[in-house]
Amino acid sequence: MELTTFSQQFPVVIQALNVGFVQTLKLFFVTLLGALPLGLVISFGSMSRFRGLRGVVKTIVWIVRGSPLMIQLMIIYYFPGLVLQPFLEQVLGYSVNIGWGGGESGRFTAAAVAFIFNYACYFSEIYRGGIQGVPIGQQEAGQVLGLSKSQIFFKITLLQMVKRIIPPMANEIITLVKDTSLARIIALQEIIWAGQAFMKGSQGISGQLWPLFFTAVYYLAFNGILTVLFAWLEQKLDYFKV
């Protein structure tokens, strides 16, 4: 059965795009949830007093920021089953199963790991800039008051850092919304995948380009909400000046 008129196609397409967009949003929020704290940990590593640790962390940040996310997705998804598993089986002599699994959950988990790690590295550099941008006098004031290092960080530096990094973080987070579409390289069925399916034919609709173009409306709407949210947050934190 072929659906030929726009009014027949529209509800089917919207239904499919909604399902895809839920995947997009899931990946977006899971990435934020993981990458925001992990980025802070990595930024501490790259500011560490230990030169060895600092070198290792900076090298990792260089590799992750310097190579395409699409390649990282493919390596993280295919490497365990393709290389690691046969290798372990040879070494151990019995069969192990460390692949991600072919189903939707395996693909999602692999994509989330790749995105969290990748974005945490970008975030870490923004955090580092924010932390190092807080005037040294603020820390010295804390020391004079007899605060410990962690007290100085959480009570003095952190909030001032947050205030400083909102514009660059907003940039990165809006990019993340759109970058989630890269996950379709490991066949995670996010919204672009859902829109593309109607090009070759799915659910009685084939040869249609408009569903793919229509996905942009979803991205625009969601990024509009984020933009408003960040503007509000920025204003909210405007009550103190440094």
């Binding site: 059965m1 072929e2 030929t4 590593g45 007093r49 230990f50 030169r51 060895g52 640790l53 070198g55 290792v56 962390v57 990792i60 493919m74 998804y77 295919y78 365990p80 089953g81 393709l82 690691l84 598993q85 372990l88 019995y94 069969s95 192990v96 199963n97 460390i98 692949g99 991600w100 699994g101 072919g102 189903g103 395996g106 790991v113 379709r184 390289i185 490991i186 066949a187 069925q189 593309q196 399916a197 090009m199 070759k200 034919g201 799915s202 659910q203 009685g204 609709i205 084939s206 040869g207 249609q208 380009l209």
Partner: protein
């Protein structure tokens, strides 16, 4: 000294987090058949490809290949699970055990045969030239098509035919994109599978203004398993039985591909 210990621990932890933990053991699987039976599912790697594998209005995978795959899985006593893959990545998906077979109107080329363990051919196919219907009369032979600018799927059998015939072409992501290029007028013609062409272009389809003309070759479809898999033989036997008792032809008629089924 202390900072070296700290660095070493950091490296070790990062290595752990990179490799991903949780290596759960499975019983020693001696063959692919036992592996599939052990986990109870046959994971079939597909793309959305009418009339072989596509979704019905309820979102259920149907099609000539999908229905055969379900029947084959049933004969093994396992469940067929369909997973959409990126066609370019079919070999790593198979070898990485994220899927157990590629069963999606796959043309048996030398590349496919060398990368997978393939069954006997079960369906005939051809690479056909797609042109706008109003120009079809001018392009009924391969010779006439030489002046056209083609769109072909990267790494496909269609691209091999374009090379063999000396056509000028642009490589695109998949056959659907190739069709789209012709419909949008960005390319003059495309080369795609005849089974797909029969289902997707012409009257009553999404590409009513396109049609297909010359068949450039003839080729065959097969199913791919991991190299050395014993499931290949099992499926060959299953195909022979399904042909003998008529179930294969009945399925083929449901999806309008009976003319293409290889019946000896």
């Amino acid at each position: 000294m202390k900072k070296w210990i700290a660095s070493a621990i950091a490296v070790w932890m990062l290595a752990l987090s990179l490799t991903g933990c949780g290596g759960k053991e499975v019983a020693q699987a001696t063959s692919d058949m036992e592996y599939v039976k052990g986990k109870g599912t046959l994971v079939v790697g597909i793309t959305d490809f009418a009339p072989m594998d596509y979704k019905d209005a309820q979102g259920e995978w149907i099609g000539f290949d999908a229905d055969l795959a379900k029947a084959f899985a049933e004969s093994l006593g396992v469940e067929a699970e369909f997973v959409e893959i990126d066609w370019d990545n079919k070999v790593p998906e198979l070898d990485g055990k994220t899927i157990d077979c590629v069963w999606n109107g796959m043309t048996l080329t030398d590349e496919v045969r060398s990368a997978m363990s393939c069954t006997n051919a079960y369906c005939n196919n051809a690479q056909v030239v797609i042109v706008p219907a109003d120009q079809a009369a001018n392009y009924q032979t391969a010779e006439n098509c030489k002046e056209l600018n083609f769109a072909v799927e990267a790494g496909s059998a269609g691209k091999a035919q374009a090379d063999a015939n000396g056509f000028s072409y642009t490589e695109v992501k998949d056959q659907a994109t190739a069709l789209m290029e012709v419909a949008a007028g960005t390319c003059d013609a495309a080369i795609i599978d005849s089974l797909m062409a029969a289902a997707m272009v012409g009257e009553g389809t999404g590409y009513a203004d396109l049609t297909y003309t010359v068949a450039l070759n003839s080729e065959e479809y097969g199913v791919g398993f991991r190299k050395g898999s014993d499931l290949t033989e099992a499926l060959n036997t299953f195909f022979a039985d399904a042909l003998a008792d008529g179930t294969m032809m009945k399925l083929a008629e449901t999806y309008g591909v009976q003319a293409a089924v290889i019946s000896e």
